[in-house]
Amino acid sequence: MRIDESVRQDILGAVPGLRAFAISLCGNVDRADDLVQEALLRALANIHSFQPGTNMSAWLFTILRNHFRSEYRKRRREVEDSDGHYAESLTSHPEQHGQLELSEFRTALAKLPEEQREALILVGASGFSYEEAAEICGCAIGTVKSRVNRARTRLAELMSIQGIDDFGPDHETRAVLVGTRRG
């Protein structure tokens, strides 16, 4: 197959983001890379159906997501990864600042329902608009918004992040009062 140079560049440019998305879906780097490869082969086999001028990245994300849903989800159930393996396979420098926090975040993210997780990644990390994310997921824009909101709420619960307002001034006031009483 003859690959037009601009198409080639667009595809390669989308690969880093596709990998990050695939890892969030698969929970495993090696299988994520296999998923990306299979998605790219599918895309190239159907490159005639890509409409020039439209978003190549969104098109590739859609193919990858559909392929994951039709093929990989079954496999994941067969060989379910532990959260530990997921974090381990990703983290190359455990001593690096923020890695522990990031590891906790990954664990929490892995606990989200798949539809919430993918919506959150597409909108919050991949940089797609709600409209593009809706196209990729094959659902309504309002559904994406609702999933993203639920994902954020659940993550905050899982990570025990509380509203700053909940323990900001009040907490300090209480500390001051306790200190006063002691003195």
């Binding site: 197959m1 080639r8 990998r19 990050a20 890892i23 975040f105 196209e135 309504a140 307002d165």
Partner: protein
């Protein structure tokens, strides 16, 4: 095979949970949302910063080369 389409009528259709207002989620304060967003991007960017592994650039090159050979015969 059902390759993804960049456009689709589905996105225009309403779904049952369209009408629901995000009640609990809207209570998340700005600081919490910012922190979640920051960690989400940190996790994502860690992978993105690895660039394009050679297997993918080689894949495209191989496909291109194979076509060249087929045309030559």
């Amino acid at each position: 095979m059902n390759p993804g389409k960049a456009t689709g009528p589905m996105s225009q259709m309403s779904s049952p949970d369209d009408k629901k207002k995000p009640t609990k989620a809207s209570r998340l304060d700005r600081g919490t949302r910012a922190k979640l967003g920051q960690q989400l991007r940190a996790m994502y960017d860690e992978v993105v910063s690895q660039g394009v592994p050679s297997r993918f650039s080689e894949l495209l090159t191989d496909l291109d080369n194979n076509e060249g050979k087929q045309n030559a015969h």
